[in-house]
Amino acid sequence: MPNHAILNNVDHKHLRVITARGAAYGDAVMSALTFPAEFRELQASYPIVFAKNADGTAFDALALFGFQNGENLYLEERDGAVRWDAPAIPLSHERLPFMIGRGGDELSIHVDLDHPRVATGDHVLESEALFLTYGGSSEYLERIASVLRTLHDGLEAARGFSAALLELELLESFVIDIELDDGSQNRLAGFYTINEERLLALSGERLERLNRAGYLQAIYMAVASLSQFRGLIDRKNRSMSGNR
């Protein structure tokens, strides 16, 4: 059971959040949810693909970090320190261990107290306090609040985006067969991407509608992001040669 609580400056006065990167802090994940407003920034580092949600009624955009569950090829260990080798991390991952909770109409910050980033005591290296001595929010917490707001708005907007892609039948499933340097054959399947042929065949009127809704640029950003597969495969090859 997740141990979620509404964040407050009494119970969580001494709570600190570890900001270092690493598998130990929940960073060993294959993908993270993303949304059109951050496509421009993310496409410079990650492939952006789409996946069907659990009951098949909608599609989510994902930034890919690896080829299998638990694989994040952007995590790099050098001289004992782990870094995330990309200028930007998707906000849906950056926000952890926080989330938005809803109490009536009010949105509030919740924290997952069992998350490995949650620490107590200030001996922890690379960690941030949430509250100042007299109960005010720290700069770090202010930033988290802003991240959560952006994420919330972005995910709301993503629903219309994915509905538009479905309506225009712009999504298609794809399979990538990858041969790694060691000769092994690997397959990535179960994801969807933009069908460029259909995109190019859209009428002017439909393109204008997409553009007015702010979706057209995001669509092209997602298309452009696929060139990051090359980089992801290189990372995979490097990680395998490093293991030998």
Partner: protein, 509 residues
């Protein structure tokens, strides 16, 4: 009438007529297709079963599967379960699932089953699908795209609603012209073709090719051309049905995803689960029992299965048989006008699909080509009808029931077609194989014959062969068991998925 085939006239607006019109119009956008039907003929609305081929047909004509489910009161069908056919003792059942036996063709599954696993029903050992049916599982997940399957499936549907659904698609999307009028007369061409139909209100309707979908009256092929019916009552005795619609006992009662066929003294009872109700009917032989007896038997079945006592079944009478030819000159019959046989393996709509697909694929471009196409259509569908009749007969000849003359007579040699007798003689020493069914498009694959034969406990005695590979067979049986264990927890219940489809639809991709 020109030499070019430009205008197809479909006569009759049941599910056969609209399905034929849809398949032709979807494949041939340059052809004009007109469907004429008499006004005021209410759809019958019998619950019917289809084969998995219907998925391809629906996909081919370009409808959404979610719309189809919602508008036709449709549900999943994963095969048939036969209760009481082997000897009528309690717990006598077997499945004919739509999924082929696991590893079929790789090893002699039948031999391995017979030698070491006779205590387990053949289909339950060789396929995961009977277990999905017994556990009330759907054949796919909510996120599986339209027309895609985890476990092969067809449909149960309301045939009346299906006709309306197809009409909307034909008229709205496929450009089929819909004429509501009575056909008063056929106007022949001097060469013997049909030149036109005289309609009561709108006058002459000329056409190049006429598709007779007028049901059992077979207005054009039987009526105008007098092509005789080849009676099959001497092989398959059933000629009556009593049908009734029954509500579920509770709103959340499980929906069966197989057609259950329960053997009776002089016939059998179908039980088909639609989302909103069950369709139940008793098919029987009027030569072996009275209508009153048949109704009593149906009533007993309905109440025993949790249905109401105050049912008023509707009676249907039919003459089992098919036409000597299906295509004469520029007239081809599709549906009941071509023939009808008891619905034991739900072959009616399947034959409509096959006929419509054949016609669309082999559509003659000119009058000159017509006779060539007609000749091979007739040859192919005569073969298919014969095979359907033999396959249905197979269900009866292997029964050990002895509760009535009906079952005894079914096993008498003079009621069994010669080819079926010859095959049964072969199958005494080896299982059915593709050598027994050499055509590219057989109606039933050899696997279906195996499901029936071994479901009916038919034994064979053959010396072991090198290709039997008993170890391989056991590996496939274990794989079927593994798939069962993997699928059962991953698949939603049949009712839950149908409800999800009603609310949200299935994804297109």
């Amino acid at each position: 009438m020109s030499n070019t085939i430009e205008h197809i006239v479909v006569v009759g607006g049941g599910s056969a007529g609209w399905l034929a019109a849809a398949v032709i119009a979807a494949e041939h956008p340059h052809l004009r297709v007109t469907l004429v039907e008499s006004p005021g003929v209410p759809p019958i609305g019998v619950g019917e079963g289809t084969w998995p081929s219907m998925r391809d047909t629906l996909h081919r004509i370009g409808v959404s599967e979610s719309d189809f489910f919602r508008e036709c009161d449709a549900a999943f069908k994963q095969g048939s379960r036969f209760d009481g056919w082997v000897d009528g003792s309690p717990g006598d059942y077997y499945f004919h699932p739509f999924v082929l036996p696991q590893g079929y063709g790789d090893a002699n599954l039948a031999a391995a089953w017979q030698r070491h696993h006779r205590h387990v029903p053949f289909a339950d050992l060789a396929s995961f699908q009977p277990h999905l049916c017994v556990q009330g599982r759907a054949p796919k997940q909510a996120r599986t795209p339209e027309f895609a399957a985890v476990a092969n499936y067809g449909y149960h549907l309301d045939a009346g609603k299906f006709g309306v659904f197809l009409r909307k698609h034909c008229v709205g999307k496929l450009g089929v012209r819909h004429v509501l009028d009575h056909v008063e007369a056929v106007v022949p061409h001097e060469n013997g073709d049909i030149a036109a139909l005289r309609l009561r209100e709108t006058g002459l309707l000329a056409g190049d090719l006429f598709v007779d979908c007028t049901g059992m009256q077979s207005l054009l092929l039987g009526g105008h051309y007098g092509v005789p019916l080849l009676h099959q009552r001497h092989v398959l005795f059933n000629d009556r049905a009593l049908a009734v619609q029954v509500p579920y006992a509770t709103p959340d009662a499980p929906i069966a995803s197989q057609t259950t066929s329960t053997a009776q003294t002089s016939g059998w009872i179908w039980d088909i689960g639609l989302p909103s109700r069950r369709g139940i009917g008793h098919v029987y032989s009027s030569a072996h029992g009275s209508d009153e007896d048949a109704e009593r038997v149906l009533r007993a079945y309905v109440t025993a299965s949790g249905g109401p006592a105050d049912i008023t079944p509707r009676q249907l009478a039919f003459e089992p048989g098919y036409r000597e030819r299906f295509w004469q000159r520029n007239c081809v019959a599709i549906g009941l006008s071509a023939g009808f046989i008891e619905p034991l393996e739900a072959s009616a709509l399947a034959l409509v699909e096959m006929s419509a697909a054949w016609l669309a694929d082999d559509m003659p471009a000119t009058r000159d080509q017509l006779d060539t196409v007609a000749a091979r259509f007739n040859e192919a569908f005569t073969y298919r009808w014969e095979r359907v009749i033999e396959f249905l007969k197979l269900h009866y000849v292997l029964s050990r029931r002895s509760d009535s003359p009906y079952w005894h007579e079914h096993r008498q040699a003079e009621t069994i077609p010669a080819r079926l007798q010859a095959l049964l003689a072969l199958w005494r020493t080896r299982p059915p194989s593709r050598r027994d069914f050499p055509r590219i498009e057989e109606v039933f694959p050899s696997a279906s014959y195996q499901y029936i034969l071994y479901g009916m406990q038919f034994a064979f005695e053959g010396a072991p062969r090198a290709s039997d590979l008993p170890g391989e067979a056991d590996r496939h049986f274990r794989e079927a068991a593994r798939l069962t264990a993997q699928m059962l927890p991953a698949l939603p219940s049949n009712r839950a998925l149908l409800e999800h489809i009603r609310l949200h639809g299935l994804p297109r991709i």
